[in-house]
Symmetry: C2
Subunit: 162 residues, 2 copies
């Protein structure tokens, strides 16, 4: 259904819906989100071993320019690559745990309010908005405390606490 819309959108711009592009678009929509170019390439390459990494980059660029996918950085948790997600849902922020890498999505009115205020305040026409939040998830906050305690103990090994 979503895929249909995408296809229409591309066709209307005189962009060819080749076998490779269908594959990539499908994978982006199906597979859990936040794939980077390399990840998408690996998935695609399993299904079509001839498909080239360059085609992935070119297709992602195309979809991004066409407004069909959004580009994310996810706080560069793993490196400097970009991640992509289909522009399906409502606007949301990405919340990334800097310890375990888990990504949560947050929907909420502050995002819409922010958008409206920026438009009003600057007379700005918003095309893309991206909010990324980094920190520690509930689980990793606990883990970190343990890690810190362990590290402190390790340090005072030769001079144990009285």
């Amino acid at each position: 259904m979503r895929a249909e819309a995408a296809r229409e959108s591309l066709k209307s711009k005189g962009i060819r819906l080749t076998r490779q592009r269908q594959l990539l678009l499908d994978l982006l929509e199906r597979s859990g989100k936040h794939l980077d170019a390399e990840g998408l390439y690996r998935l695609a390459n399993q299904l079509d071993p001839k498909l080239n990494r360059v085609t992935v980059y070119r297709t992602l660029k195309l979809l991004k320019e066409g407004g069909l996918v959004d580009e994310l950085d996810l706080m560069h948790f793993e490196g400097d690559q970009h991640y992509y997600e289909t522009r399906s849902k409502q606007e949301h922020a990405h919340v990334i745990c800097l310890r375990c890498g888990k990504v949560e999505e947050f929907f909420g009115d502050p995002l819409q309010k922010l958008r409206r205020q920026v438009e009003a305040h600057f007379g700005f026409q918003i095309l893309i908005a991206r909010t990324e939040i980094g920190g520690y998830c509930a689980h990793c906050q606990v883990m970190r405390e343990q890690e810190m305690a362990a590290a402190a103990e390790g340090k005072s090994q030769s001079k144990p606490v009285a």
Copy 2:
């Protein structure tokens, strides 16, 4: 004043305040914000021709890890480099015009509200938050309309509007 705090913060971590680091920190604080590594390098290099690009990268990494500077992407308007600003002011969003590249800063309560909601909703401990908004500034909206009109006319040159 700000510089002092930064120096203290570094010293307390046993990090040496070398000539190069002082220079870079000063430049980051003085010069208008949103410098990327290369821009900072060029500024620094004029004052100390021996200072190496690598030192800039290493120092930026250090300052980022120490929470003294924030890293921005600015929607990758000019490329895939990162930009840096000292963590002086209150939290703000960056609003980037995708035509002229101008960067505005937006302060406003939606940002704090968002932060509080995310913390409450996920039990998340936020370390960094980044909001970047891309689109067209008031001025460029007008320019774009003119450009579009001109382009349309160019296209229909051989077949002018009746």
